[in-house]
Symmetry: D2
Subunit: 92 residues, 4 copies
């Protein structure tokens, strides 16, 4: 079963929260709120979408991929863990 099916409820909750954040931008524009407020609301949406993408990529790696060739001589995270680490620090 795909991870987006297995994690359906968790992901739906996140997406609905993001929809709420996009609607907040819409309401702020309609109410003619100040531009600083609008920009901060948009930046918050962006952060939330990035967080969702990172979460789905992590689930994707953990579900569909497995380590073929271990990293030599290591105590730290395995090859999949290292990948997730870099993705997380890049997209945060």
């Amino acid at each position: 079963m795909s991870h987006t099916v297995r994690e359906k409820q968790k992901l739906l909750n996140r997406v609905r929260r993001i929809r709420g954040q996009v609607e907040a931008v819409e309401r702020a524009l309609e109410a003619e709120a100040g531009c600083a407020e609008v920009m901060h609301l948009i930046a918050a949406c962006r952060g939330a979408i990035n967080g969702l993408l990172v979460e789905v990529l992590e689930d994707h790696i953990e579900t569909h991929l497995t380590v073929r060739e271990p990293l030599p001589d290591r105590d730290g995270p395995d090859a999949a863990g290292e990948l997730i680490d870099i993705i997380r620090s890049y997209m945060k």
Copy 2:
């Protein structure tokens, strides 16, 4: 008048399109679509939000800021134009 008021209609159209894209992610999750499709839909939302933020930042610079000290000896864009250029290439 703030740019988010002056450009209200244009920005509302963009935000509503983004809301539609977030709802497409929601529908794909509910329909248990494949994870590749879900990931591409999320990535598309992210691109659209980035595009909106760049647009609002450009309006912000053009509305609220003006050149105080021109760039020396130049034919190219002025100091505001150069800033927009870098922001656009960074956030694209």
Copy 3:
């Protein structure tokens, strides 16, 4: 005087530190270090370059631009400050 001239020494120090970080990637590749180490060194270079670009953009805004139309009814940062705020949170 342009900000990259006024802040020359501070920026040169940062760029030289970045050069050192790039050379560390080079040395790690030559020494056939593990891929996890190489990836982390590259990610660190990327963070340092992003930090430098944000710094130069801030200097650019503060030097060359000035507020033409103040944000209405506000106690917070002015229009330039809000812009810097968003750029910083975006590029961090």
Copy 4:
């Protein structure tokens, strides 16, 4: 053998080119070039580092990971290919 060893020469060439780009920023600052030029040189370094990181992540995925659970009913790229696709579009 780790991919950063196998691809050592290719990666060293890229890193040395990046070092050259960082040195170009250094020289521009020393020569008191205009700030627009400096900003564009820094933005170019950033693009080059991002490109290098994407390349190493791709090698990492292809070397160390393998598909454990195939994507259902698909003609397109496999689970590793989809991941690379998203990373590439995100970091480009």
